[in-house]
């Protein structure tokens, strides 16, 4: 009995650890898509956050400064995407793809310059036992984003920008500015998710450590039907499968099937096989 309880505890804690970066990135996707900007660049923003956190935490010796720097790095990429997608009317997918290349290549390039070695950084001060704070903050962020989107005037404006930006403009407000702010907040959340990976769960940055989590988060946004709680639930669900991967491998289910699950789940949801799924009407449409 004690054994079973400890196994459950282990699975629960492993699920929370694996789900946390996905939750941050999925919330980032929710706020930006609700404002009408598809964020393919989540992966790059996580990479920027993960790398910057390590690059600052190492030399300064302060993990808090590192995390703040990671958030800022993600936010800057979010701002970049926001401005490209609004002021310059760059196709959002093209801009996001570009941001991924810039961030992933830039991190690998800067890694050599900062730490003098390719592949992985040296070990840096990390949160260690205190990483539960970022796990708790992920859930708080979900609740916070829910409150922001559904119970504040600004949240209403964000959602209106994602459905009908012309109506927002007709009401005398600036939909472009709202979109830029929403995508920047999203970038900050994705950067925090990246920082959690590098200085929360681990204590270094290595190339490829984000490993497609930005894209899994996109899947979580769709599977969670573009709502903060839905996306968080989807992220936990995907985190559970990541946690169970090693256990279920022995049961004969191919590992690859488990890894492909988030993407297949998103495809199934996209095809409308799990009920009506509707993206914000102006999602991806430049204003």
């Amino acid at each position: 009995m004690n054994d079973a309880a400890s196994v459950v505890m282990l699975i629960v804690s492993l699920t929370l650890i694996k789900a946390t970066p996905l939750i941050y990135a999925a919330l980032a996707g929710v706020i930006s898509e609700r404002s009408g900007v598809i964020n393919i660049g989540l992966e790059g923003m996580m990479v920027a956050g993960a790398f910057t956190a390590v690059a600052v935490s190492g030399p300064t010796g302060s993990v808090v400064l590192g995390i703040i720097a990671g958030i800022i790095a993600g936010a800057l990429f979010g701002l970049f995407l926001g401005i490209l997608a609004t002021k310059f009317r760059v196709d959002q997918i093209v801009a996001g793809t570009g941001i991924n290349l810039i961030a992933i290549g830039g991190a690998a390039f800067a890694l050599v310059l900062v730490f003098g070695q390719p592949g992985a950084s040296k070990e840096v001060p990390s949160l260690e036992g205190a990483s539960w704070i970022l796990i708790a903050l992920a859930f708080a962020s979900a609740a916070g984003l829910h409150g922001l989107l559904y119970y504040t005037p600004w949240g209403l404006r964000v959602r209106a920008c994602g459905e009908n930006p012309h109506a927002v403009a007709a009401a005398g407000l600036n939909p472009l500015r709202t979109r830029i702010i929403a995508v920047t907040i999203g970038g900050a959340l994705a950067g925090l998710g990246g920082a959690y990976l590098s200085v929360g769960e681990l204590n270094l940055y290595s190339d490829g450590m984000v490993a497609g989590r930005g894209f899994i988060a996109l899947a979580a946004v769709i599977f969670g039907r573009w709502t903060p709680f839905g996306a968080t639930g989807a992220a936990i669900f995907f985190g559970l499968f990541e946690a169970l991967q090693f256990a279920l491998q022995r049961s004969g289910i191919p590992n690859e099937a488990m890894q492909a699950l988030p993407y297949i789940a998103a495809l199934v949801a996209l095809a409308g096989l799990t009920g009506r799924v509707r993206a914000p009407a102006a999602d991806g449409v430049p204003y």
Partner: protein, 340 residues
């Protein structure tokens, strides 16, 4: 094309890439003269270097042409990476399983790539036509499913005792594509790709199908009213787009690696998006753009080895070029408005 448009277009992108490259070299503490010397020596310094640059050019050209076709039909295919992989998987699985004479193998294995990539692209086309699912997201998700699907098959059901790692058994030499330059990896796949580019240009400009396809992309409502079946066009364009990328995967298997390996593409399908944009969605300009990116890909390694500039700088530059080229469309339309 006047000087201003040329400068705002591909030429400007090349200039920008060179300036950014020089900046990256300075940041890395290397003189741009040394850096560029290493880059170009590595890419164009001799027959072997040129051959390797053309190998990279070929690998980028197929997915870029596929992306171009989808783009022209108004569909955003960011799944070329997965379509390329599945095309290669089909060719590798069939090629390593059946021994065929050269001429048969040439057609059968390229057809395998065509079918594999076409199926993978077609899934996204059907999802869009039947369920209205956004093809951007579905092709992106299918890229990851492709990787896991392929690695499951090669380490599982298709596992060969001759294989080491995540790959199929080697193809018999009779199935290898003929080599163009002796002692290099450059095969006749390059000629197939260029022929395909010419064919696509012809289809776009001289056939009814090409006209309908471009109409579906540029003025979908008008195309629909003129009797173009949009659902059918979506499926067809995504299938053909994937099929072209799939042929590219097959040529990497039959021409370069001589087996299927899950690591067969270091992201050709993503870089190809930049190639298609730099080539202005024109098949012949895409050939030129692919050569330019081929120089970067092949020269990047040499630059890293002899001038100590991390090759990842190339990724950053590709990303910036994509963003700038997409932004200049806006600038170009603004200029047209003000000068009109």
């Amino acid at each position: 094309m006047n000087a201003r448009r040329l400068l705002a277009g591909p030429l400007g992108a090349i200039l920008l890439a060179l300036v950014l490259m020089a900046a990256a070299m300075l940041v890395a503490g290397v003189s741009p003269v040394d850096g560029f010397a290493a880059l170009f020596a590595g890419a164009l310094g001799g027959p072997n270097q040129i051959a390797e640059t053309l190998v990279q050019t070929t690998a980028l050209l197929f997915p870029a042409l596929g992306i171009c076709l989808a783009f022209r039909a108004g569909l955003f295919n960011i799944g070329a990476e997965g379509q390329l992989l599945i095309g290669g998987l089909f060719a590798g699985a069939v090629g390593s399983h059946y021994a065929m004479p050269a001429i048969v193998a040439f057609f059968v294995l390229l057809l395998c790539g065509f079918v594999g990539g076409g199926l993978w692209g077609g899934i996204a086309g059907v999802m869009r036509a039947k369920f209205g699912a956004n093809e951007i997201i579905s092709t992106l998700m299918l890229n990851f499913v492709a990787v896991f699907f392929a690695s499951y098959l090669v380490v599982g059901p298709l596992r060969s005792p001759l294989a080491t790692g995540a790959e199929t058994a080697p193809l018999p030499p009779s199935e290898w594509l003929p080599i163009l330059i002796p002692n290099s990896r450059l095969s006749i796949a390059l000629l197939v790709a260029i022929a395909l580019a010419i064919l696509l240009r012809f289809v776009f400009s001289k056939t009814v199908f090409g006209y309908d396809l471009r109409a579906a992309g540029e003025a979908p409502e008008a195309a629909r009213r003129n009797g173009v079946n949009m659902a059918r066009m979506n499926v067809l364009a995504m299938t053909l787009s994937g099929a072209i990328a799939g042929i590219g995967g097959a040529t990497i298997v039959t021409g370069v690696l001589h087996r299927f390996n899950t690591q067969l593409s270091p992201g050709y399908g993503y870089t190809a998006i930049a190639v298609a944009l730099v080539g202005d969605l024109d098949p012949l300009w895409i050939c030129v753009a692919a050569f330019g990116f081929g120089i970067l890909e092949a020269g990047g390694l040499a630059m890293q080895a002899s001038a100590q500039v991390p090759k990842d700088a190339i990724r950053v530059i590709e990303g910036l070029v994509i963003v700038v080229l997409a932004a200049r469309r806006f600038v170009a339309t603004q200029t047209e408005k003000t000068t009109a």
